[in-house]
């Protein structure tokens, strides 16, 4: 991993990094990856169940509800008033095309 990778990841994550921080992040990430790469050596048999244990083991597989309208308690005004930019009660963004 090098500075170019850090810049690429920041681009993918849509985060502008200060120049001064790139070296530090690179160093931190190398340290963390060095620690987590120990799982490479773990032998995992290919049989058996895979998937997230916290969901499957307690018996929930899919949690569905009817596709209908249900009332929700929230304040529309509070949501609209927090738009960073708006016009006539609509959220306004920079043009995308």
């Amino acid at each position: 991993m090098d500075i170019k990778d850090v810049e690429n990841l920041a681009e993918l994550a849509r985060i502008e990094l200060p120049e001064t921080e790139k070296e530090q992040i690179l160093k931190d990430m190398k340290g963390i990856l060095d620690y987590v790469k120990q799982i490479e050596s773990v032998k995992v048999p290919t049989d058996g169940i895979v998937g997230i244990p916290t969901l499957g083991s307690v018996g929930i597989h899919n949690a569905w509800r009817e596709d209908g309208l249900e009332a929700r308690e929230f304040s529309r005004d509070l949501i609209v008033s927090q738009f960073p930019d708006s016009q006539d009660g609509f959220l306004k963004v920079k043009k995308i095309l």
Binding site: I25, V50, P53
Partner: protein, 473 residues
């Protein structure tokens, strides 16, 4: 009016409120007084709510009309990542500095219905990312036992609030030890419930497959009361487990405790290990059979966690983009709004974890990191569930160290992450775990032991916890 807050429990307060020894308002005013004296130094609360008095008056009505429950009038502190409708909820981040929640989290809705008094929101590591409450945008918090030391984290503010008598009980959240580790550092009881026991609706997510709302208390009984109040199925959370799928809790205290000694061979402070051994001896002396168990995959818990969690973080935190709410940098293009809002709004730890998550999920690395971690996680969960065929509970130290000094480990992320080495197995496998005080060092710093039980066997934890409270001295 003088109330002995130090020895106050939920049941004692309830009895006093019921028999009119003091009113909800008088109780709350006692806590507000302590907050006024201590919060400046300890920085437990980011905000004390301006409607606390009105809440107390409402609670008093419930006592008058006979509809009061155990939680009515109980002053509780709320971690700053749990939505309280109309109030600012910042998750300790600049990006949500002025964000006001548009609805109540389900756990908050329940507390309000019961008439509990929400005192305010507490400091935390930014987006719950940390083990010391030092990554908050709103300054560090301090350990009430020694203000030059950290309170643990990420739910440090809630822990301090209870430990320093600035609240009777508190809610935090756990993704990997964020309630148990600060409980250890602040001499409290902390419960990480079974994944799916408490609703996550209205909790600002860090790692969805790991997060659980988790209560703090001074006693096991207090934590049990809060847990029982909040442990309800919630259709608003698709991972909330319906009551009929929850295993019946165990009513008889079993006698076998498994200890995975091989996990503590290195990296545990000598005094911590010494204290743990003494606790185990005490348990053995009152009739528990101590069984040496092996959890070979659990050795990789923290490494597994530090792949899965950042992956979920990078996904979850993509919603904070400067468009709909929160901090927004006015840019010329949409891309500039995104990049500058996120670059300036997130702190260093959050940026680091987002990038790490982006990396482990990216093409070419996905199989080696994320996919492998998911498989190892499954093995960890399986071996823990299997261990319960031989033992009833598993015991470990809660954290490998005593509370460390402010500033320590901040420049070494891996050293900081290791604080949660014994926390990770419970979060990865979804089983419940209880941390509780196990004595003090000669300098007066708290020690802690933790127990893990099978899914939805919180009652076993409360039973052993209450028994341990009696024998620990």
């Amino acid at each position: 009016m003088m109330i002995d807050l130090k020895n106050l429990t939920i049941e004692k307060a309830h009895a006093s409120l019921k028999n009119g020894e003091y009113t909800c308002l008088e109780l709350v005013e006692e806590y507000l007084k302590v907050i006024g004296e201590k919060n400046k130094e300890l920085n437990a609360y980011l905000e004390v709510y301006d409607d606390v008095i009105r809440q107390a008056e409402e609670a008093e009505k419930k006592f008058k009309n006979g509809s009061a429950t155990k939680m009515t009038g109980i002053p509780i502190a709320i971690k700053d990542n749990i939505l309280v409708g109309g109030k600012i909820v910042s998750a300790g981040s600049k990006i949500l500095e002025n964000y006001r929640a548009s609805y109540d989290a389900t756990v908050v809705k329940i507390l309000k219905k019961e008439g509990a008094i929400l005192l305010g929101r507490t400091n935390m590591d930014e987006f719950a990312m940390g083990s010391s409450t030092q990554t908050s945008y709103y300054g560090v918090s301090r350990n009430p036992y020694d203000p030059s030391r950290v309170p643990g984290g990420s739910s440090g503010g809630s822990a301090i609030a209870v430990a320093a008598d600035m609240a009777l009980t508190a809610l935090g959240t756990e993704t990997c030890g964020s309630v148990r580790q600060p409980s250890a550092f602040c001499g409290l009881v902390g419960l990480k419930p079974t994944y799916g026991a408490l609703s996550r609706h209205g909790i600002i997510a860090m790692g969805n497959s790991l997060d659980q709302v988790s209560p703090f208390g001074k006693t096991v009984r207090d934590v049990e009361i809060v847990f029982n109040t909040l442990s309800l199925h919630d259709p608003e959370d698709s991972t909330s487990v319906p009551e009929d799928l929850r295993n019946p809790s165990r009513s008889n205290l079993k006698q076998k405790i498994g200890v995975p000694w091989h996990l503590f061979e290195e990296g545990v402070e000598k005094t911590v290990l010494e204290n743990f051994k003494q606790s185990i001896e005490k348990l053995a002396s009152v009739g528990f059979e101590i069984v040496d168990i092996k959890l070979p995959y659990s050795k990789y818990s923290l490494a597994t966690y530090y792949i899965i969690m950042p992956a979920e973080v990078s996904t979850n935190l993509s919603r904070f983009d400067g468009i709909r709410y929160g901090y927004s940098h006015k840019g010329e293009t949409l891309e500039e709004v995104y990049k500058k809002s996120r670059g300036e709004g997130f702190g260093r730890e959050a940026r680091r974890r987002i990038l790490l998550g982006t990396y482990v999920l990216s093409y070419g690395y996905y199989d080696a990191y994320y996919n492998k971690a998911v498989k190892v996680r499954r093995k960890i969960a399986d071996e823990i569930v299997k261990a319960y065929e031989r033992v009833d509970l598993i015991a470990t130290p809660t954290a490998p160290t005593l509370p460390f000094k402010l500033g320590e480990k901040l420049d070494d992320p891996v050293a900081m992450y290791l604080s949660d080495i014994f926390s990770a197995p419970a979060n990865l496998s979804g089983v419940p775990s209880l941390a509780l005080p196990s004595g003090k060092t000669s300098e007066g710093l708290p020690h802690s032991i933790q127990f893990m039980a099978p899914h939805f066997a919180e009652d076993s934890l409360f039973q052993i916890g209450k028994q341990f409270e009696k024998i620990k001295n």
